[in-house]
Symmetry: C3
Subunit: 445 residues, 3 copies
């Protein structure tokens, strides 16, 4: 009976995703499927993305009309685009949206006219320091039209008359976002947020979408979850502000959160702490990273980044951190055509999935216990928990874990504290705590 | 009058034991006297040990009947042994309790039979990594018989029939422990605990017994003690649990405590903090060790060790730390026949005694004062406390101590804090504080 | 309008003194003017010093009669001196007050008699380790007469009869101190204290007086001050005790304070923390020193020093720190004739003035804000606070400052905290905070 219990516990405690599928390859496949779509803050690209995601996970989508007031902001007009190009003085197409959806300035208003080189150049964007890459640029709140192209091409443009054409619409419509909610034993939530607004860019942000999809599947397979998990797929900034405005009354349920993106490259994990810096998610993520045996970086909160900015505004101060591999500052290919499928790998995506899963499981399993036999040590022997003479190292390790847990089970130390102070991995502490609870030696505090 | 006061205070403050006796030699003598006795958790060996200790210190002994419930445990049957041996295939005694009381597995049930080599070996214990040493093994809660012998001897055993004989009894009786109580001005107690259950082993634990005996004598000689001191001599684990069960109502009086053993070897002092880690005893021991000018180690609490485990269970959380020289992990001779008189020295025992005495005196003398002339500095000159012109370095040092004490005497800093912040030794701070109190400049907070 | 606001704010934020005058030269000039005067705890030298200071700043002087009880002390008799000399066996003046006012032991009682060499020597003071310097010695509370001279001269004295003459008076009179009060928008005070009791000594303490005079002028020129500033010019120890005794009821208004002296030498700044060690003045001074880009030292409180001792007694515990360049311990020329005009420089005095001004301005401007649009980020663009596409680094820096301030404006972080956490200089944070306040995005907490 004890060994049955142990086996069952070990299965539960066994971090890492099931091995039946090649999760890395599956994530690459999903990214390749989503890559060609031209997403933006709003529009059909986002809706089509959700249509594809619905083949994998039970995502519910919401439409919020343009003009809706959300705190200091309002939902913008909806933008859609069918195509766009520049024709050179000789009439040939020199830049075409059909080749790359980065070529058109995101949120460009429609235009069709002839312009001289000087006027044209005031609407062109390039990256002088990476002359072969096309930049990704937006103009959400300043109506404008423009094209992005390689600096090499921009430099080669000759004097003459150019024809510019952008077949877009910017008109009242709605902002689209999606949610996946996995109910748990309690309404206390773990929030995972990733943005859904970037066009053909792989690491920022399709890697985040792909890892979240696989994480949802892994969490769905768990026999039970103490926390409910909420995944939100939102356009950046206006999306998180809109989500907060519509869900303000329920934000008190959010106990821990992470913002996910930049998860496919080879940079060590970079964890940006919550604004507070000393919350349970900060302790848990630090524990998981230290125990991964891999290099990693931990950074203080900084109000310039991804959607953690919104969750961390003074009116909310939610316990939301960020876990990426690269950051804005270390990812050379950031917001350019070089952020393509070559910039990411299935191995790194899988590592990211495993780290997210590990952190989620520790968060879900961590708790404080009370020792029910608190005066003097528990007599382990009479409960079959004590080796007789000698014993092997497995027994010693189990027994040290028992001593630590029983001593620290005073209602003030959680299992991660015990793991940190004892140097025993969390999964061992968790496994042994369940055995001690099964023996009526522990109760949740 | 002032110089009389100072002389008297210096005598009191003078740490270290009186020099009339050679304390190191006396401790070695006591250890040699106690060494041959076969002690165990219970039994006549322990009682005889107390008979000898009563020649030195006023120890009161208690008998707790077998079967008494003490928290999660019960007092075991009493074990006594007269002898035991193994005869080889040719009838010769190859292992004999008369040669070393380690030869018989402690708490062995009686046995007398003939066994083949294979069965015999399942009852033999040796130390392959130290082939000439006899291990010390016990089987308190699992009725068994067995012998301990050198690995070299074990390996030399030939096939054949062996006769085993253990002349022991395991029967209802009682557990014996002892206490020495030195009353002080208050009922607030400093607890010193050492175990009394090991057979012929010198460093663990006869060194602890010997240092405690001399410490009792030194504390008895003090003109006054603010705290009461309680020394307990107990069998390990079941003894401290039994003591806690019988004294639970008075444990609130324990203000500081130390567990003493492993005090005769040459390892630097190793202080294991209280479970809390930030109590007064932790501060005081750290201060004493730093100011000893010798190397030392300070370790976090660990629930695997000596009787501090029991005092630190969540139902008690007493302020009890541990001070040893070696630890379990660094003492190569631990629980073997090599832990004999050659493993300890009078010099190290004396150093241990002095360190224990120093810590006890600081604990007893430390307190918080209020400056009774708190606004602006005290005018030392009109009280004869200020040098006139110039002054020697002794005066400067006294005067700096006065300034520190008068400034910090605000009810929140104790004398150890003042010593730590000023860099002035505790004994100087204490001496000067008494002078200032005598001048009505200080009152206890 | 915004650019007008910014220009005005930048003027205010522009640390450092106006450049119309050469402040270093002006301070040297004042020190040269004050140098010849023989100051002491009391007497006409102090009064004449205030007469000269009144040409520069609006100092109010107070006279406290001898014998007035001030806490544990009483105001001493007033000391005045016209001259003094020693004539050698041949009748020649070998030591003359007219040459240096250090030659006469400060507070010497009058004397006129003939003495042998042995008796004379018991009244002579020299510095064997600096044989050419005259020491500065006092005998305030032990009536005595004496002379200070170079050790070389002392050693050359031959046997014979000497004539000693000191034309001094020690009689009931009063102790003189001065105050400059610069009222601000609130009664909350920043206290600056310097001593006024040293005779011809430049670094300790004329440098302190000169820097305070220029600091007063700079603070007077500010368009507004939130705090009131109180400068006190007092004799050391008895002066600060007297001031505290007379102003006890108002000490609760003191929010920050600094004791100033030793500000003209080339040693890096040395900041001695408040007794508490974690007050706002400690944070602000540390910020200013770190951001100065120069080496500096920060020391814990020590009850042996200048008048911060009195402000820090347990009955007051005022938030008063000390900022010097050298300290007692590093200033070789301390209390000797070598502390003359050659020991200080206009450059170092100017640096000291700038550092004091910087700390005063940060203290005066630091406050906590509340973000008035706290849920989700503020939409900067619609308020003209956001660059459009691209932007230069000045804009980026402004925008990062906006994000930090708006995020941290939660009533718990002050502007110095924001500067420290963001790594953005205080003046930029302050400038941007005023802009945000002007846009109704912030209100003082």
């Amino acid at each position: 009976m004890e060994s049955n219990l142990r086996t069952s516990m070990q299965q539960v405690a066994n971090f890492g995703t099931p091995t039946a599928r090649d999760h890395g390859a599956d994530m690459i496949k999903l990214i390749e499927e989503l890559y060609p779509i031209c997403r933006s803050l709003t529009g059909d690209g986002v809706r089509y993305t959700f249509d594809l995601l619905k083949n994998h996970v039970p995502v519910t989508t919401y439409e919020v009309p343009s003009g809706t007031h959300v705190f200091d902001w309002e939902v913008p007009k909806e933008w859609n685009i069918k195509g766009g190009w520049i024709k050179g003085p000789k009439g040939e197409k020199i830049v075409d949206f059909a080749d790359s959806n980065l070529h058109v300035l995101n949120y460009s208003v429609p235009v069709h006219k002839k312009v001289g080189l000087e006027e044209l150049k005031s609407h062109l964007f390039s990256l002088p320091e990476h002359p072969d890459w096309i930049p990704y640029r937006t103009s959400y709140y300043n109506e404008n039209w423009g094209f992005c192209l390689s600096h090499r091409q921009l430099e080669s443009l000759e004097e003459g008359e150019y024809e510019v054409f952008i077949d877009s619409t910017l008109a009242p419509g709605s902002l689209t976002y999606g949610e996946v909610y996995l109910p748990g034993e309690t309404e206390e939530e773990i929030l995972l947020s990733t943005h859904i607004c970037h066009p053909s860019l792989c690491n920022d942000n399709l890697s985040g979408i792909a890892v979240m999809v696989e994480l949802i599947k892994a969490l769905q397979e768990l026999p039970h979850r103490r926390h409910s998990f909420r995944f939100i797929f939102i356009p950046t900034t206006i999306g998180s502000i809109t989500w907060l405005a519509r869900n303000e009354a329920n934000t008190h349920k959010i106990k821990h959160g992470l913002v996910a993106t930049l998860l496919g490259d080879g940079h060590p994990f970079t964890y940006q702490k919550t604004r507070n810096g000393k919350l349970e998610i900060d302790k848990v993520a630090t524990h998981a990273l230290i125990n991964s045996g891999q290099p990693f970086e931990i950074q203080q909160f900084n109000p310039f980044g991804f959607d953690e900015r919104q969750f961390s505004t003074p009116g909310f101060q939610l316990p939301v951190a960020r876990l990426t591999r690269s950051t804005l500052y270390t990812y050379r290919e950031y917001h350019s055509s070089a952020d393509n499928i070559d910039a990411i790998s299935p191995t790194y995506l899988k590592e990211s999935l495993d780290m997210y899963l590990k952190i989620c499981l520790i968060l879900d399993r961590n708790c404080k216990y009370m020792n029910l036999v608190p005066k003097g040590e528990v007599r382990l022997g009479k409960r079959g928990l004590y080796h007789k003479i000698g014993g092997n190292s497995q027994h010693m390790s189990d027994q040290m874990a028992m001593l630590w847990i029983l001593n620290y089970a005073d209602g003030t130390h959680d299992l991660v504290d015990i793991a940190n102070d004892s140097g025993i991995p969390f999964d061992k502490i968790y496994e042994i705590a369940l055995i001690l609870k099964d023996k009526d030696l522990l109760a949740e505090a």
